[in-house]
């Protein structure tokens, strides 16, 4: 009598002679079935994502200023104009600074928060929920809160810094290009670091506890354990976060527009802000579409390169 689990009664099992062909045929039909399942989703994506993209490319090849006004076909003129504009490159550079600043600050904050929340202490469950609060507050509220806190008319931050001796006199946090960008990065990081914290916390819970325990028994200190065990095992998660975070940060518009409107003196005018200004303040829809297409291509290039790099790392 056969012991254990019964073998599946498949066609291949019944007729080993045609196993290869049968397997191929079954895989083919599985593929067809899978395709059938994803077709509605693909159709929806094509309708909501691909079609607008096609329209944006078409718009960028015309000379449309206002919505609802027809435009003549101008070929690549908008692209050559945009690429020859200093504002485009300056905004691109600011976008890179914005992304890098957010990546560093958010990762540092999130890593610190995740390491603390990974410990066992009374109230850790409440703390894990509490840390999410800044993430769920609507952007408009975040902006109002921070503009008020940083204001010279009743804001708390300036008096606190003056009393602590860190400042001699109140300052304007949005009064110079550098301070405005720095302040915005901090505000945006404050808003988004809980999301990154959750991701890192999830990754931390997947690190086997016995590795840490073994290292501890071998006499490794906390820093050594973090450097040799935690950090390397967090790398796959951090790599994914780098790609997702870069794409998300790059496209942030609301918090910048509501806080500084791209000022002062263009100091926080990133590419999304430039696109909005060009389309809806400068009434140059086609030129804005050209900037959008160029930005989209750059982001797509980054995503593909990052994805390949991660695949290579996984393979190695």
């Amino acid at each position: 009598m056969e012991r254990g689990f019964p073998k599946p009664r498949t066609k291949e099992a019944a007729d080993p002679g045609v196993g290869g062909q049968g397997l191929r045929r079954r895989r083919l039909s599985e593929r067809k079935l899978a395709l059938l399942f994803v077709t509605p989703a693909l159709g929806l994506l094509a309708l909501t994502l691909l079609w607008p993209l096609v329209l944006a490319v078409d718009l960028s090849l015309r000379d449309v200023r206002f919505i609802g006004k027809p435009g003549e076909f101008v070929g690549l003129a908008n692209y050559t104009d945009v690429l020859g504009e200093a504002r485009f490159w300056q905004s691109g550079l600011r976008s890179l600074i914005w992304v890098a600043g957010n990546a560093v600050v958010q990762t540092a904050l999130a890593l610190a928060a995740a390491l603390v929340l990974h410990q066992s202490f009374p109230g850790v469950r409440i703390a894990r929920v509490w840390v999410l609060l800044t993430w769920i507050v609507p952007t408009v509220v975040v902006v109002i809160i921070w503009r008020w806190l940083l204001s010279n008319s009743g804001g708390m931050i300036n008096p606190l810094l003056v009393q602590a001796g860190l400042l001699e006199a109140p300052v304007g946090f949005f009064s110079s290009r550098e301070s405005a960008m720095t302040t915005l990065v901090l505000i945006n990081s404050w808003r988004w670091f809980p999301f990154v914290t959750l991701m890192i916390l999830a990754a931390l819970t997947r690190i086997p506890g016995d590795l840490d325990e073994a290292a501890r028994m071998d006499g490794a200190g906390a820093w050594q354990r973090f450097r040799r065990i935690t950090w390397p095992l967090l790398q796959p998660t951090l790599s994914v976060l780098l790609v997702v975070g870069t794409l998300l940060s790059f496209n942030v518009f609301d918090i910048i527009w509501l806080t500084t409107a791209g000022g002062p003196s263009g100091g926080t005018q990133t590419l999304p802000v430039l696109i909005y200004e060009t389309a809806f303040k400068g009434y140059e829809l086609s030129r804005a579409a050209a900037i959008s297409v160029l930005t989209g291509l750059a982001l797509m290039g980054f995503a593909i390169a990052a994805s390949r790099s991660m695949t290579r790392e996984e393979g190695a």
């Binding site: 940083l150 009064s175 290009r177 791209g262």
Partner: protein
């Protein structure tokens, strides 16, 4: 009565009823007065109008200033646009360029004959051989100040720039600032800067032929003065929007600001002592003799070419501008919206509002200041389509930021500003 007679009578009544319903002209009004109390006041007026005019039904759909520049052209292109749309002067050329706005010159002429419309209010919508909107309410900037702060410093209200500079310098001490002047990139800063220009004989952005007149020594002097006063503003004023200046004034941190009104904020957050709230004309350059200000009228555009809708529009606006109704309309935000008609400025319906009564001297000064109002790009009947993107991209405040934040010489910044305007116009 037989069954047949009864049926015929019922059918006739139904047909008559439906006939009158069919004859009703529907008007959809889009406006950007979004605060709930303003929407409520507009609805009260619409209900009253609709009840008095059974053949017309006006409905409102409040919109957002932040979205309307994109939404209105899109809606009109899709055939879902409103029949009536509120506007400010730099919004009208956009809709005119897409061919959506109707000329209302004859109607405005008739209203002027009856109510005596403010010339400057009509002027900013009069160009290209037409009048493109009916002015409804005016807004004009003034110098708002705390009387107590000036009295404590032994200062009189400044009339000239040299007096102004001396006063702001003296008032800036002990964590208080003589003036709150914005230097951010936005409409508020554009409008504040233009106050300096119009008080120094530099009101024109364009020459008669459409070339730019911005780059001139008077404009550079105006920017230099604005930058000089900006030094006596709070450090965060380079990032100010509308509410920040009012907050600074209401908290007493700023002794004075340039603003359309501070009445509501002062009443709710600044103590509300009307006797201590000062308002004055904006000081002029030492060589000038007249106090000018930025002022512009909000207006309503007709977007339908249907003769029935035009007739209904004229009936509705005529009703709204009647003194008995007009004051209630203006007081949807008491102390901010000023009358554009001579009889409206005397109407009981305007002056009977409790807040208007309390701040009557201030409002009378605001109305007097508005008489010398101008708006950049809409002076002397010379209006060119490029003013919309120039205003939209806040070129006037970009130039101030170059001076205040980047330390560029005012003359060089103004010259660069003109080049930017030329680029935009191309």
């Amino acid at each position: 009565m037989t069954y047949k007679t009864t049926s015929s009578l019922t059918l006739s009544i139904l047909l008559l009823g439906s006939g009158s319903a069919l004859a009703q002209t529907e008007l959809m009004l889009w406006h950007m007065e979004q605060p709930p109390h303003r929407v409520e006041r507009v609805q009260e007026l619409l209900d009253a109008f609709n009840a008095a005019h059974p053949d017309i039904v006006v409905t409102q759909e409040p919109q957002n200033w932040g979205e309307i520049y994109a939404k209105a052209p899109a809606a009109l292109a899709a055939g879902n646009g409103p029949d009536l749309l509120f506007a400010i002067p730099d919004f009208a050329p956009i809709l005119k360029e897409i061919g959506a706005v109707q000329d209302v010159g004859a109607f405005v002429g008739a209203l002027d004959a009856k109510h005596d419309l403010l010339d400057s209010a009509v002027a900013s919508y009069s160009y290209d051989n037409g009048v493109w909107a009916v002015p409804l309410y005016n807004m004009a900037m003034s110098l708002w100040y705390h009387k107590g702060a000036f009295e404590a410093a032994g200062l009189a209200v400044p009339k000239t720039w040299s007096e102004w500079q001396a006063a702001t310098e003296k008032l800036t001490a002990d964590g208080k600032y003589g003036i709150g002047l914005p230097a951010s990139k936005g409409l508020y800063t554009d409008q504040v800067v233009y106050n300096f220009m119009v008080n120094n004989g530099a009101s024109e952005l364009y020459n008669a032929d459409g070339t730019f007149a911005f780059d001139n020594p008077k404009t550079a002097e105006s920017y230099a003065m604005a930058a000089a006063l900006q030094k006596f503003s709070p450090p965060d004023s380079a990032g100010w929007f509308w509410g920040d200046a009012e907050a600074c004034f209401a908290s007493g941190t700023c002794a004075s600001i340039l603003q359309f009104t501070t009445i509501t904020t002062y009443e709710t957050q600044g103590g509300g002592d009307a006797a201590k709230l000062g308002v004055a004309p904006i000081p002029h350059a030492d060589g000038e003799s007249q106090h000018n200000t930025i002022a512009y009228a909000n207006a309503v555009m007709l977007l339908s070419d249907d003769p029935a809708k035009r007739a209904a529009f004229e009936t509705f606006i005529s009703w709204l501008l009647e003194p008995a109704n007009y004051g209630r309309f203006l007081n949807m935000e008491p102390g901010l919206f000023l009358p554009v008609t001579a009889d409206g400025a005397k109407a009981d319906s305007f002056w009977n509002d409790p807040l208007v009564q309390k701040y009557k001297p201030q409002i009378e000064t605001m109305i007097a200041n508005s008489a010398n109002g101008m708006l950049f790009g809409f002076t002397n009947g010379r209006t060119f389509p490029s003013i919309a993107p120039i205003s939209g991209q806040n070129v006037l405040s970009e130039v101030l930021q170059a001076v205040v934040i980047d330390g560029v010489d005012p003359a060089a910044a103004v010259a660069a500003g003109q080049v930017r305007m030329q680029d935009i116009a191309q």
